[in-house]
Chain length 339, copies 2
């Protein structure tokens, strides 16, 4: 069948089918059979007294520009998956499945396969399935070889087990889990500083950084599923903040009861990439904690009496952590104090 | 707090917060309280013997360009919702909730509010909730005043009640449900014909069309939830195809068992917009049924013996339908014959 006229309009159904077939092959290896029709299926099973779905949608923002500049597309999918995972495990939920949306100007089956392989990789590592997705070819929307991606995740939790932060009280402790770098936030500012102000190229070397600036900025968002799961099975967590856009300043208050604030000590090793960006961009002390994660991708709030048990459990799974602060009274305007 | 440097990079956290606050206000009116933190919650309830989640992700494709050209953004959200609804009700499932992803070059809170109001409208009409979403400001990705949207829907069904098409047999009937126009497919071709070949403007009048060409192309994707619900409660449907990208030719075979095909008679009134596009664009007979829905947004396959009951039920809810064809043996290459 000819789709010549449609192809003239910039849409290739054949190329679309090729991309879908590539995806299907990859997904089949995961043992999921129902994909590629109109939607995906997920059997819920039993055993929860008050089952509640937890769901979130996300993108990876302008981190994509780094992938474009490096012409490397097989990691961005894992960023997307892990960002979504971290957004739902803050409640203690177990991720069930993931769906994706990929939009391009003109569909390059190999690029789409690379993106999806990153997603599958992320899904496998987090032990859930890629249930479906949409790959849209939108001529005139995206520049040649550019695209956007969005991810949707659904998790399950027993209502009684939701981590909601409401029991957080003065004296509780803040545990910081190290990030791999910027994760998926602050990229517009980082690109402005690195590539416009400092005129770097993606393959430029910067003092203090192991790899190139491009490699550094493309490091994958970490999933904290293992950390949360191991601690939550013993009810050791009172609240969790995923440090995304808005940094410490906006994300920690999201889970605090109105009467408390937090005092944070800068005791963890700030990754070199942030030191470089803050210095080169003259980013103020306040702004850097609002735009960047500064080396802490997730903050757990625990009862002081559980500290040694938390330390034991995290050490047992070989995960690093830092005791970074304490819950205080709510001091009004400056609710999160960092010094 | 100043976010001046970040604003210089093209991202306004304050504007983002303004947009989120607008959305929160709208969502609160729906009675949903948990939105705007890291994810949304949905209690599952009880009563199904084998509960299965059905989920789908979608966009609205280049129909967005029509919204941009008309500077009208309050309908596209409903397109997105209804497209998603139709993708999961083909299995007989009940939609539970919806999440959205909106990406823009620079965030205009009013535009975002318009988009979300369309989504809320769609969610309300389909009687489910907007559970959450992500609004991303991505400088350098989208042209000024342009954006992309993606939707994600989750529905629930008892496994035993899934409409899977496997009992479809020779002699079964095809019922066509009328579309409002192009729905969300074929827009790249339609824009090429209307605005490049024919040099129309969005406010141009075309013989036979009631409104302007822009109004016609922006007509909202129809949700067939009422049709499907009323018929499925009496188990009257054997299979459903949502006529999206790929048209009749690709979507109907998706649900047919291998041994059958379908013969379709063009008995329904083809909307004027398709007549205009096909004539002006010299779209071949074959291509038009692959790219456009040609006036039929959803095809239901029923047992011949249930025809009068189906007619009664659809008439009772005042919905139009057409008996458009019959299931045949699989004739090999030409599985869907249209004449």
């Amino acid at each position: 069948m000819s789709d010549s006229l449609y192809a003239e309009a910039g849409v290739s159904i054949d190329k679309g089918n090729e991309a879908v077939n590539n995806i299907k092959k990859m997904v089949k290896k995961m043992g999921v059979t129902e994909i590629g029709k109109f939607s995906g299926f997920f059997p819920l099973g039993e055993g929860l007294s008050n089952p509640t779905l937890v769901s979130s949608a996300d993108g990876v923002g302008t981190k994509l520009k780094i992938a474009f500049m490096m012409d490397k597309h097989d990691t961005i999918g894992k960023d997307l998956v892990n960002h979504c995972v971290d957004d739902i495990i803050v409640y203690g939920s177990k991720p069930l499945f993931f769906l994706d949306y990929i939009a391009t100007g003109n569909l390059e089956p190999n690029t789409v396969s690379d993106i999806v392989s990153g997603m599958l990789n992320g899904c496998l590592e987090n032990d859930f399935v890629l249930l479906g997705g949409e790959t849209a070819e939108m001529p005139g929307f995206y520049k040649s070889k550019e695209y956007d991606v969005a991810g949707f995740i659904v998790g399950l939790i027993d209502k009684e087990k939701i981590i909601d932060g409401k029991n957080i009280k003065e004296g509780d402790l803040l545990i910081g889990l190290p990030s791999s770098g910027l994760h998926t936030n602050g990229y517009s500012l980082a690109r402005l500083i690195a590539f416009e102000k400092m005129k770097l190229k993606v393959d430029s070397k910067v003092e203090g950084l192991e790899g190139t600036i491009g490699e550094e900025l493309l490091k994958t968002h970490i999933s904290y599923l293992r950390h949360v799961r191991t601690l939550h099975e013993e009810n050791l967590i009172k609240g969790i903040a995923h440090i995304t856009g808005g940094g410490f300043i906006e994300n920690i208050p999201r889970i605090l009861p109105d009467d408390v604030g937090a005092k944070i000590q800068k005791v963890w090793p700030v990754p070199e990439i942030f030191k470089f960006l803050n210095k080169a961009g003259k980013v103020s002390e306040e702004e850097r904690y609002r735009v960047f994660n500064m080396g802490i991708g997730m903050v757990l709030i625990i009862d002081k009496k559980n500290l040694s048990r938390v330390e034991e459990k995290l050490s047992a799974i070989n995960e690093k952590y830092y005791l970074i602060g304490q819950i205080t009274k709510n001091n009004g305007t400056k609710r999160i104090i960092i010094n």
